[in-house]
């Protein structure tokens, strides 16, 4: 009975998700090309951008990992909050800068920006491959996250393997057709459900299990003080210096993360992004909920270990709520996998359609079609790997963020500093990325209590500067600075004139 109710609610919402995603592009025909599909024709306003960017950053990790970290370690989980907040703040500068640059030159993503900046299409293709390696694990994380949520909230009716497939099918079902705009529409549903359900849980769980916030917090403070300061409980070196360096590097990375940039480029004008830099941090308050519920679970369902601790929050939900409520909360969590997954797949598709396949002369006229094909291929690849070799992508995911961070100098420094040569940017990237791989796969992250990615980034920048000053000069690029660099971000005379259609 319980299972039927919860599963029915889940199924209904999954259908609604696909329908909503497809409705987003109703009446727009199949025209519009890659810009329409990849970045919503650069036409989204403040509300849609808020919903989309909040939607893509609040992933299944927020429900599972954040609660699990809270349960296992305590305080170290606060890094998520810290880097997202700091990242939103500097997005005030970076967002409009990337937006204006991309719009001026008709670009649709970071690979495109790199190819334009250094005037080397192959470099765009290389960055696309590298970024794909970093992004694929995230798709799998969403697929597996969705899997455990769905099988838990359906009381086991839907098996893990089916739940994985449903996640892939629903996401592909709308994103292939409706692109970024469809993702934004689905995000509306997602954000409404996430805000409502987490708001409810924040009030309900302490009341239900502890008789209110006062007793709940008193009990944590009295019995689990180890969880409440750095380095947390048995966290294996996640102390203050780790928190500091991780927040620092992640806040720089999140602003150039390809999915964030897709959100930036979808904006109607630069001011939409400035306003969102102000409004988006409010969404982070919601992150406290899974963190606190993870701590609450310490008392209610003690003894969860390993991957099962990720279910800390859902154990409470299933234990304390009727089936229909479990279903709705499960839908909110499932959509927190689906929306980010949609944008990850969209971004991979765009990078390949534009910068890899699109760079091949014979294929260049069908960039949107190729992008859509790659979306399906990338999603299917992640799904198949989830079934047959789940550990491959899990291992890769260890370097995802810290590897992506190594693109920061090439991209951001490159856009403000003309002297940075292609040779320098590439040398720095290779040095930084290699070092991160060596450290992480060698089991040295954190290294000396410091995030391994920031060590890589320091070497990356040092090498880039050295090669710029000592290495070969850039020859033959006689474009003016205004063509190559980001300008002091200008205001659009009229947001109407969307250039750069392809």
């Amino acid at each position: 009975m319980n299972a039927t109710v919860a599963t029915a609610i889940f199924a209904a919402f999954m259908v609604l998700t696909v329908v909503l995603g497809l409705l987003a592009v109703r009446g727009r025909g199949s025209g519009g090309g890659l810009t329409e599909w990849s970045v919503g024709g650069r036409s989204l306003g403040t509300v849609f951008i808020w919903v989309l960017m909040a939607g893509e950053s609040y992933t299944s990790f927020s429900y599972l990992g954040a609660a699990g970290w809270g349960y296992n370690f305590g305080a170290p989980v606060l890094y998520v909050l810290a880097y997202m907040s700091c990242g939103y703040a500097i997005g005030y500068v970076v967002g409009p800068m990337l937006w204006a640059y991309a719009r001026r030159h008709g670009l649709v993503g970071i690979t495109d920006i790199v190819a334009h900046r250094y005037r080397r299409p192959w470099l765009g293709a290389a960055v696309a491959v590298l970024a794909t390696v970093c992004l694929l694990p995230y798709i799998q994380l969403q697929i597996t996250g969705m899997g455990v949520v769905v099988s838990t909230i359906s009381y086991g009716t839907i098996s893990l393997n089916w739940a994985y497939f449903i996640g892939f099918a629903v996401t592909t079902g709308f994103v292939v057709v409706s692109g970024l705009r469809g993702s934004a529409w689905v995000s509306v549903l997602k954000d409404v459900l996430v805000i409502a359900t987490l708001g409810f849980l924040a009030l309900y769980v302490p009341l239900h299990y502890f008789g209110g916030y006062g007793p709940f917090l008193d009990r944590i403070v009295a019995e689990k003080p180890q969880w409440l300061t750095f380095p947390g409980h048995a966290s294996g070196g996640l102390g203050q210096s780790w928190f500091l360096t991780t927040t620092l590097i992640n806040s720089l990375t999140v602003v150039i993360f390809p999915t964030t940039v897709a959100g930036y480029l979808g904006a109607r004008n630069a001011d939409v992004l400035r306003r969102n830099a102000m409004y988006l941090p409010f969404y982070n308050v919601l992150l406290f909920v899974p963190m606190l519920l993870g701590l609450a679970a310490l008392f209610v369902v003690p003894g969860l270990t390993g991957a099962r601790s990720n279910l800390a929050l859902f154990k409470l939900v299933v234990d304390s709520l009727p089936a229909w409520a479990v279903g709705v909360i499960g839908v909110a969590a499932a959509l927190s996998s689906i929306v980010p997954m949609a944008v990850f797949m969209l971004v991979i598709g765009t990078m390949w359609g534009r910068s890899v396949l699109g760079a091949v002369p014979r294929l260049t006229s069908r960039q949107k079609l190729w992008s859509q094909v790659v979306v399906v291929v990338a999603g299917a690849l992640a799904l198949v790997l989830t079934y047959v070799a789940p550990n491959t992508l899990v291992r890769l995911s260890l370097i995802s963020y810290e590897g992506m961070a190594q693109l920061v100098p090439m991209l951001l420094l490159g856009l403000v500093w003309r002297r940075l040569t292609m040779y320098a940017a590439v040398s720095g990237l290779v040095a930084g990325f290699t070092l991160v791989c060596v450290l992480v796969f060698g089991g040295h992250d954190p290294v000396w209590g410091v995030n391994a990615g920031i060590v890589g980034l320091a070497v990356n920048v040092a090498v880039a500067l050295a090669v710029t000053w000592l290495g070969p000069r850039e020859r033959g690029d006689d474009r003016p600075d205004t063509e190559v660099l980001a300008l002091e971000d200008e205001f659009p005379r009229a947001g109407a004139a969307v250039s750069g259609r392809d």
């Binding site: 306003g45 909050l81 810290a82 703040a89 403070v221 400035r274 941090p281 600075d481 002091e488 947001g495």
Partner: protein, 87 residues
């Protein structure tokens, strides 16, 4: 040394001291961490570190607002209502 770009310093930083407000979250979350990494005193029942992180989260939008206000004062960052929406 070759000349720097005629555009001068990096975009967005020239004469925009208000942008320094954007560093405030880094101060709140990171610089003062050794001082706030403690359980007591509890504030509204919250352990101090968690209270502080909540405060920092809520002050982040304020810091962006202060940066934006600086831009407004310079006659930039005007409401896009003036420049028209999309077609």
């Amino acid at each position: 040394m070759r000349n720097q770009s005629p555009g001068g310093p990096p975009p967005g930083t020239r004469k925009r001291p208000a942008l320094l407000w954007l560093l405030l979250p880094y101060v709140l979350f990171l610089v003062v961490l050794p001082l706030v990494n403690r359980v007591t005193p509890t504030v509204l029942g919250l352990p101090f570190l968690f209270f502080w992180m909540m405060l920092a989260t809520l002050l982040t939008p304020v810091s962006v607002w202060l940066a934006r206000r600086g831009d407004h004062k310079r006659g930039r960052g005007r409401d896009d209502g003036l420049t028209g929406g999309r077609a």
